[in-house]
Each structure stands twice: as structure tokens, then as C-alpha cells.
């Protein structure tokens, strides 16, 4: 305690040094006077008495210094002195400092945004206590990333695994909720084992989580609701606990409310007990997501090995599942919930912002080096006053770190604004609930480290350069030339070339990403989007247990919807372009297949006959589906153009037969179906594969699905379409909600907006790179001109013309650009092929990108040269030669 107060008061004393020195001098003086008085009292003569007193007390100047060192922290004091000096200097060179701080703010700001993304996606993770212990267990399938577990699998994981403290399971499904107060509503629900929230260590906001045994058959039905539901449907009423809510028509008691932001696992809004006993006890029905906490000291790899071992035993005992699963796997929550291209996209962004930061560093280093020229004499004077090289380098480093900290603060402010925009843009695309881009303490810490690191990185080379000179020479030269010797020039050149080459890489990478994202974003739908609205409904199995029951419902519904005034036509389908598709393996009649080889995949869509009419998709061969198709004996289908091109090259597909292969739960392939038509290509299947995935369109009446979309073509505004359709649905079933109402234009825009967001991000990064490198080129050129002013004077005096002088410098600028291109372009090609492996749609040698970059960069770099070159050409030899 005393030690801390001591330290604090010593630090505080640093800031009142002069006053304290004064105070102590007075105290000493009073001491001397008292001693003198006593000496006189002892009989000394006054002069002698005073002299003796001074000797006895000690030399005041040395005592004041010792006192100051004891009172303050000398090391920190020096540092503060350096800082004050740096601050004064930077304030004096306003333009230089502003340029450097802005460059650094752009570099660090972009980098911060990149790290915020990485932090949100890979580091921060889920908001559970010790969330890093929680892992997901799943099957490793023969195709795709993972396959859920069946109830038997879950029991095997639970009983045989020793790696997990406990395992919980959930399965997602849409749940219709209704009560006597508000309109029925469709929510994203999760059925969970009773220990689910215990495994997550997640507490409720109100009420309780599930109690043990509430997931047994016959237990009183209970439900836990999410915060959004509580807020929107129950207006944050705390007395909601104990109330009754109908879950797919069955009454259940609300026992708990989850806190805001808790939507685990799948943006869930509602949790009900998972009654395992009601699930089919077979291997090939898999609906459970399994999560568990690793025991202390168990690594993910160990757990994965164990789970895989269990999985292999299960496969060995059940050989019929071997064509869909290969083994078991254990994933972190992040990799379980971040799918598709997102993780790779994030890493690419991080790479790009690293380039931006490096360019900013190279840029500021060139600026510092240019300025170092003016520092030569100051450094020489410091040396001759006895400063060590370390002290000189330290002083210069403190300056650069001061710059980078200022840049970092500004960058953090920029990043905060940028992150906010980015986050709300990404949220709007329906990103998983836990993926929120915010600046937290980790990001701030990262910025702090980056600030210091960049300050040292870009400051060290110029500092060593400046401090290397001999004070002798510099002072003799009366401060001219000085640090700007040959070596300084070479360093500046190298830095500029490095900066330009880095910029080429950045521009190239960003350009490729941009072009691929834009082409994905702009890819046409293949039909007219305006006027199309989709709505989705999910019929609960409790009310509609069989396809026949569902078929009856839809058969009544469709004419009602079509009859609504202002609605031109309406179709039913399991999929809405460009989304939703189920994949099946299939084979073609008359083709030879090797027995054990897996058959190819195709997307399948169930649709009513007028589906193509409503969308406005042409049938290019044969005919569309009709009302008889799908009845017994009329197993007819329409295929997509892609399917025809890929599997019937040079043949007429009309009249050919295909059949879907058995899945795990089916003993034999399904029956043969006849192809009656080929539909023109349009965007159906996953967006990434728009136009590229084969599709088979199956008559809807054949198997009316639980989840069905109504697609309506109408000139009415979507809201009136919606209320009309809702009234039609509820006239048939008052408890049945209609949800996911969107225009198809919005569906497409939302599905693709992620590409626009990332394209914008890369465009911003590329622009920052261009600006930075332009400033760098300018800085070095201006430095060269200023340094060689005298030489220019001499050249002009002996007859060189303005053009000769201009060419002297322009030549150098051109050489820099040429070398940078020679280094940067091959590197860019290499980068392009790496990116293409990752996620680029465009050829890496894409000539448009290439030429654009060369032109842009050369133009920017050359125009950055122009101002200094003009200045060189306008040097007045008389003034130049007379100048000091």
C-alpha cells in the first residue's frame, strides 16, 4: 500500500517539478539560516558562520538534483521529456503530422475492422460461461460438412464417450404458436433435452429452465420463450410465467424467459422439451444437433478421435448407413455454425487489411525519411552534446510511436463507425444471431498492440538511418545534405517500390474479389421478379398427419387464393427461387452404372403445374406439368435445361425415365418417372451455383409437403396480397399462421446483399491503398527534389534545361513504377490462383482486372510525381546555389 502511494506520488511529482524544486530550495535556505544563527550563537563571526553552515549542509545544486530524483521517477521523467519534445515537433510540422496520422488512421482503422470481423467470427465465440469447452458432435457425411445424429446415435455418444462431461441434443423446427389473445404466429423453435441449458450453463431471465424429467413422455408440457417473443408478443409482461400457450395446437405452460440475445442454437425463439421416446429408434432418421462440454484437460482432437471410434463401430454394426456417413466428428461451436464461404471470406478480408496496414507503414516510413533530412543537424547537435545513439533512436521512435498512437486513436474512431455500418448491413442479410460485429476489449487491445508495433515498424528504419551519421560530417556540411545521403535515398526508393508492389497486390486481390462478388450479385434471375410475392406456411403434423390431409388443405386453399381480386395467379411449391432445394441421387433408365458407385445428385422441387407460368419461365422442350401429372400412372417430371445439358448431351431427354435412389430409410429405389419437358434456365438451387445445379420439378400433388410456399403474381402491393392470403388460410384453419412474406425481388436482394457488402468493403480497402501509395510516391519524390536542390542549381548553371531536370526526376518515378510492376504483377498472379482456390468466380488472369490495375496505378503514381517534378523544373539556380 505504502509502495503504491509512494509510486503514485512520485509520478504526480513529475508534473510539478519546477514548483517542488523551488520549495525545496527555500527549505534548504531556511536550514542554512538556522544553522548560521546557531553558529553565530556559538561565537563564530557571521561570515565564517554562514560559510561553515553551507559546507555542513552540502552543495544546494547537487542536493536539489538528488532531491528531485528521489522525489520523482527519473526514467519516466526522461520519457515524458522525449514525449513533450516529440509533441512539440509534430505540432510544428503540421502538414507532415496530419498526412502521417491520416495515413495511419486509414491503415489501422481498416485493420481494426478486419480484426473485429475475425474476433466476432473466430475468437469471441458464444456468450456462454467457458463457451470454448462446448463442442458439437455430428456425423461426417459422404457429401457435405456434417450430418445430424439420430436418437440411437445420441445414446451411443452419451453412453460410450468419456470425453464429454455431459451431452445435450436439440432439433430445430418451425413451431406455430397461438393463444386466445394475439394472432397465431410462426416461430423458429428448438426441441431440447432437459439438460440443454445446464450443459450451456445458460440461466433464464425469468422463471426457470427445464427440470429433469420434463422431456419424458407424459410430463406436463412446458415451454421457454425467447426475449424477442416476450417483448413482441407479451409486451415484457413478467406475469407471463405460468401462462398457457398453444404449441402447434397443444397447450403448454410458459415456465421461463431467456435473456436478450440468447437464441441458441439456430436463432431459436422458443424451446420445448425434446421427447426422445417419441423419436423413431432407427439409425437413418437424423434430426438431433448434439452439443457437449469437454471434460477438463480433454482436447477437441482427443474427443474427435473417441467419437470417430464410436461412429466406426456403429457403421460396422449397421453397414446400410455407410453410403451416407463415413465417421464421427467434433467441431467447435464457431465452425459448427459458420458455414459456406463466410470463414474464408473473413480470412481474405483480414489479409487485405494487413496489406493496407503494411502500405500505410511503408508510406509513413517514406514520409519520416523525407523529414529526416531536416533532422540531420538537430541529431548532430544532440550527439555532440553527449547523447548516446540509443537515446537518439529512442527519441525518434517515441516520435513515430506518438504518431501511430494518434493515428490509432483516429483509426479506432473510423473503425467504430465502419464496424457499425458493416454490422447492420450483415445483420440485414440474416447472419446467425451470435455473429455480431462490435468493438470489444479484445479489439481495443489489438489496436494498442498494432499502434506500438507499427510505430516501431515504420519508425525503426528511418531512425537507424538518421542516427547512423557522424556528427562531425553533418556539422561540417553545415546541415546540408546530411542524413539525406545516398543510403537514405536508396532506402526511400526501396520503400516506395515496396509500397507500390504491395498496392498492386492489394488492388489485384480486391479487384478479383470485387468482380466475382459483383457478378454473383448481378447474376440474372432468369424470370421477371416484379409482382411476385412469396409466403410460407408449415402445417403442424398434429393437425395434418398425412400427405392426403395436407393435399386436401392445399387443394381447398389454392382456388381461394387464385380467386382473390387483383391476384393474377398463384402456385404452390416447396422452393422459392433462388432458395430451398432438396438434393437426391438419381439414375437414368438405360444407362449402365457400376453398382457400388454413387449416383449423381440433382436438386428437386415440388411444384403445382402453373409454377412455370406464375414465374414466367419458358418451357423450351416438351410440355409443362399438367393437372393429371402426379396421379397414379402419370409419374411425369420436368427437368431444368442444366440437367438436360449435363446428363442428356446430344440426346432428347423427352420420354426418358429417371428414378431417385433409395435413402437410408428406404429399401429400394423409387419408381421410374418420365421426363415430359425441359424448363429454360433460371436461378433455382443455391445462389453460389445459380444456373449450374440440375433441377427436377415434381408434381406437387404427389407428396404435399409440410413446408410449402405460395408464390403469387399480382400487381397489388405485397401487404394487401398478404392480408388476402392470410384471410384465405384462416378461413380454412384459424390456428394456421402464414409467414416469411416477402417479394421475390427482396428475397433475391437479401440473398445476394452479402456479396454487395463485401464488394463495397474491398472497394474501400483498394481506394485506401491507392491514396496511401500516391502519398508515398509524392513524399519520396518531394524529398529527392528538396535534397538535390543545389545539384539542380548547378546543373542549370552549367546549361541543363528545365526538361532535362524534370526528366531526371521523372525517370526515377517511372523506374519505381516499372520495378514495382515487375515485382507486383507476378506476385499478383500467384495471389490470384490462391484466391481462386478459395472463392473467386473470375479467372485469376482476368485481363480486365489486370489492365485496369496497371493503368490506375501508373496514372496515380505519375500524377503524384508531377508536383515535385514541376517544383524541380522551376528551381531558380541563383537562389538554389546561394542557399545554405
Amino acid at each position: 500500500m505504502a509502495r503504491l502511494t509512494h509510486l503514485l506520488s512520485r509520478i504526480a511529482a513529475l508534473f510539478r517539478r519546477a514548483a517542488d524544486d523551488d520549495d525545496f530550495a527555500r527549505e534548504l535556505e531556511s536550514h542554512v539560516e538556522m544553522l548560521t544563527a546557531d553558529n553565530i550563537a556559538r561565537g563564530m563571526p557571521p561570515v565564517e558562520a554562514r560559510r561553515a553552515a553551507r559546507v555542513r549542509v552540502g552543495a544546494p545544486s547537487s542536493l536539489v538534483m538528488q532531491h528531485r530524483d528521489a522525489r520523482t521517477l527519473p526514467a519516466l521523467g526522461n520519457l515524458l521529456q522525449d514525449l513533450r519534445f516529440a509533441g512539440r515537433l509534430l505540432a510544428r510540422d503540421k502538414w507532415f503530422s496530419a498526412a502521417a496520422v491520416i495515413a495511419l488512421a486509414l491503415g489501422i482503422g481498416a485493420n481494426t475492422l478486419g480484426f473485429t470481423i475475425i474476433n466476432a467470427a473466430f475468437i469471441r465465440g458464444f456468450a456462454f460461461e467457458a463457451a470454448e469447452e462446448i463442442h458439437a458432435v455430428s456425423w461426417r457425411p459422404t457429401r457435405g460438412r456434417r450430418l445430424a445424429s439420430g436418437v440411437l446415435d445420441f445414446e451411443d455418444w452419451q453412453t460410450q464417450s468419456r470425453s464429454f462431461a455431459s451431452l445435450a441434443a436439440s432439433s430445430r423446427h418451425a413451431i406455430n404458436i397461438s393463444d386466445d389473445v394475439a394472432t397465431p404466429q410462426q416461430t423458429q423453435g428448438a426441441s431440447i433435452t432437459a439438460n440443454f441449458f445446464d450443459v450451456l450453463r445458460q440461466r433464464t431471465l425469468l422463471g426457470r429452465a427445464l427440470a429433469a424429467g420434463e422431456d419424458r413422455p407424459g410430463a406436463d408440457p412446458v415451454v421457454i420463450i425467447g426475449y424477442d417473443l416476450w417483448r413482441n408478443r407479451f409486451d415484457r409482461d413478467p406475469s407471463v410465467i405460468g401462462r398457457t400457450l398453444r404449441i402447434d395446437g397443444r397447450a403448454a405452460t410458459i415456465v421461463g424467459v431467456m435473456p436478450d440475445g440468447m437464441k441458441f442454437p439456430d436463432d431459436s425463439e422458443l424451446w420445448v422439451p425434446l421427447v426422445q421416446a417419441e423419436l423413431p429408434r432407427v439409425r437413418n432418421t437424423r434430426s438431433l444437433s448434439v452439443f457437449g462440454r469437454l471434460n477438463p484437460g480433454v482436447t477437441r482432437e482427443q474427443a474427435a478421435a473417441e467419437i470417430d471410434g464410436i461412429a466406426q463401430r456403429v457403421i460396422a454394426a449397421n453397414p446400410d448407413i455407410a453410403n451416407s456417413v463415413m465417421g464421427g466428428q467434433v467441431e467447435t461451436l464457431q465452425s459448427r455454425f459458420l458455414n459456406g464461404n463466410a470463414p474464408r471470406m473473413f480470412v481474405v478480408v483480414m489479409g487485405a487489411v494487413m496489406f493496407v496496414l503494411l502500405i500505410a507503414c511503408a508510406n509513413v516510413a517514406t514520409l519520416l525519411l523525407s523529414r529526416a533530412m531536416y533532422r540531420g543537424r538537430e541529431v548532430a547537435v544532440r550527439y555532440s552534446l553527449g547523447a548516446t545513439r540509443w537515446r537518439v533512436v529512442r527519441q525518434l521512435l517515441i516520435e513515430s510511436v506518438t504518431l501511430s498512437v494518434a493515428g490509432g486513436l483516429l483509426g479506432l474512431a473510423l473503425a467504430t463507425a465502419g464496424v457499425r455500418v458493416f454490422d447492420s448491413a450483415v445483420q440485414a442479410t440474416g447472419a446467425p444471431y451470435w455473429l455480431r460485429f462490435t468493438i470489444d476489449y479484445r479489439v481495443v487491445l489489438y489496436v494498442a498492440v498494432i499502434c506500438i508495433a507499427t510505430g516501431v515498424l515504420f519508425g525503426l528504419a528511418p531512425a537507424l538511418q538518421v542516427s547512423r551519421q557522424s556528427p562531425h560530417e553533418t556539422l561540417k556540411e553545415s546541415g546540408r545534405g546530411t542524413a539525406g545521403n545516398r543510403r537514405g535515398g536508396r532506402l526511400g526508393n526501396t520503400l516506395v517500390i515496396a509500397e507500390l508492389a504491395l498496392t498492386i497486390l492489394l488492388l489485384f486481390g480486391a479487384g478479383l474479389m470485387l468482380r466475382s462478388f459483383m457478378s454473383l450479385y448481378a447474376s440474372p434471375a432468369g424470370f421477371e421478379l416484379t409482382g411476385l410475392t412469396r409466403m410460407r406456411m408449415q402445417l403442424p403434423p398434429s393437425n395434418y398427419p398425412t400427405p392426403e390431409a395436407r393435399g386436401r388443405f392445399f387443394a381447398q386453399l389454392l382456388p381461394k387464393v387464385q380467386g382473390i381480386a387483383g391476384i393474377r395467379d398463384a402456385a404452390l411449391s416447396t422452393a422459392v427461387p433462388p432458395l430451398d432445394h432438396e438434393e437426391w441421387r438419381f439414375e437414368i433408365d438405360g444407362r449402365r452404372y457400376e453398382d457400388d458407385r454413387p449416383r449423381p445428385f440433382t436438386s428437386t422441387v415440388l411444384a403445382t403445374p402453373n409454377y412455370f407460368d406464375v414465374l414466367g419461365v419458358r418451357i423450351v422442350r416438351g410440355r409443362a406439368l399438367n393437372d393429371q401429372d402426379g396421379a397414379a400412372g402419370a409419374d411425369n417430371v420436368v427437368i431444368s435445361q442444366v440437367m438436360a445439358d449435363r446428363f442428356f448431351r446430344g440426346e432428347d431427354p423427352i420420354g426418358r425415365q429417371i428414378r431417385f435412389m433409395a435413402r437410408d430409410d428406404e429399401p429400394a429405389p423409387r419408381s421410374w418417372r418420365t421426363i415430359v419437358g425441359v424448363a429454360a434456365p433460371f436461378s433455382q438451387g443455391s445462389t453460389d451455383e445459380a444456373f449450374r445445379s440440375p433441377v427436377v420439378f415434381i408434381p406437387f400433388r404427389e407428396a404435399p409437403s409440410r413446408t410449402t410456399s405460395i408464390i403469387v403474381r399480382s400487381a397489388l402491393p405485397p401487404s394487401s396480397v398478404m392480408s388476402g392470403v392470410r384471410a384465405a388460410v384462416q378461413s380454412l384453419d384459424a390456428d394456421q399462421p402464414v409467414f416469411a412474406i416477402e417479394t421475390l425481388a427482396d428475397v433475391f436482394a437479401e440473398e445476394r446483399s452479402i456479396y454487395r457488402i463485401f464488394a463495397t468493403l474491398f472497394a474501400v480497402l483498394a481506394s485506401i491503398g491507392i491514396v496511401l501509395s500516391a502519398v508515398g510516391v509524392y513524399g519520396v519524390m518531394a524529398y529527392a527534389v528538396a535534397q538535390r536542390t543545389q545539384e539542380i542549381g548547378v546543373r542549370m548553371a552549367v546549361g541543363a534545361g528545365r526538361w532535362d531536370v524534370a526528366w531526371l526526376f521523372l525517370k526515377r518515378g517511372l523506374a519505381q513504377i516499372a520495378i514495382a510492376l515487375a515485382i507486383g504483377l507476378p506476385a499478383a498472379l500467384a495471389l490470384g490462383s490462391v484466391l481462386q482456390l478459395q472463392l473467386v468466380e473470375v479467372e485469376p488472369a482476368d485481363p480486365v482486372t489486370f489492365i485496369a490495375i496497371v493503368v490506375v496505378l501508373a496514372a496515380v503514381a505519375l500524377s503524384a510525381c508531377l508536383a515535385p517534378v514541376r517544383k524541380a523544373a522551376r528551381v531558380d539556380p541563383v537562389i538554389a546555389l546561394r542557399a545554405d
Binding site: A2, S30, L35, R71
Partner: protein, 114 residues
């Protein structure tokens, strides 16, 4: 070697200053220096000015307080007074000193012949 000596000196000087202020009440730097010289019978002959390096340290540790006042001869002088924390520290230091002195004493009394 020089450091060891001044370290010992520093520790003992702290103790002596605290004890003096505890026994005599508030005093100025000159008074403290004179008092310590008298008590040590002139054995500690250092520059009187160095007493202030000790005083500032004690002030910053919060063991003594300093304020300007008027001396018995009507001169302006800075007076130091022991604080509550200083008394506690003094008690602790005294106990410590006595224990160490006791141990050293016993060690020195050991008779080599036995």
C-alpha cells in the same frame, strides 16, 4: 559495497527520523538533523542536506506530513509531523529492529570455545 552501506543507513535513518518525530512532536529538517547528530553523539556525520532525501521519501510513503510554519526564532521553516500510518510503521520497524538486534546479540555472544 557502497550501496549496502547506504541501504543500511537509509533504513536506520528512516527509523530514527520516525522515532524522533514520534517522541518530540513536529520538527523542521534542521531540528531533526541536529537531534539525530546529538543522539548519535556525532557518530553519523553526513551532509545535513541528505536528511531531506529521507524526509521526502517518508512524506511520499505517507508516514509523515509536511507543512510550512514558523520556527521558535520566528523564521519560516517546513515542519514535519508523524502520521498515523507513520506510527504504525514505526511500531512495526521497532519490533523488527529489536528482533534482529536480539538475534545478532545472541549470535555475537556465542563462545567459540564451547
Amino acid at each position: 559495497m557502497g550501496e549496502t552501506k547506504s541501504d543500511i543507513l537509509q533504513g536506520t535513518l528512516d527509523l530514527m527520523v520516525l522515532k524522533t518525530l514520534d517522541a518530540m512532536g513536529p520538527m523542521h529538517g534542521y531540528g531533526i538533523a541536529r537531534r539525530i547528530e546529538q543522539i548519535s553523539e556525532e557518530a553519523l556525520q553526513v551532509n545535513q542536506g541528505t536528511i531531506y532525501l529521507c524526509l521526502i521519501r517518508l512524506v511520499q510513503k505517507g508516514w509523515i506530513d509536511a507543512s510550512w510554519g514558523t520556527s521558535e526564532n520566528n523564521r519560516k521553516a517546513k515542519f514535519y509531523a508523524i502520521s498515523k500510518a507513520g506510527r504504525k510503521q514505526l511500531a512495526a520497524e521497532t519490533r523488527n529492529w529489536e528482533r534482529v538486534a536480539g538475534v545478532i546479540g545472541r549470535v555475537l555472544q556465542l563462545d567459540p570455545k564451547k
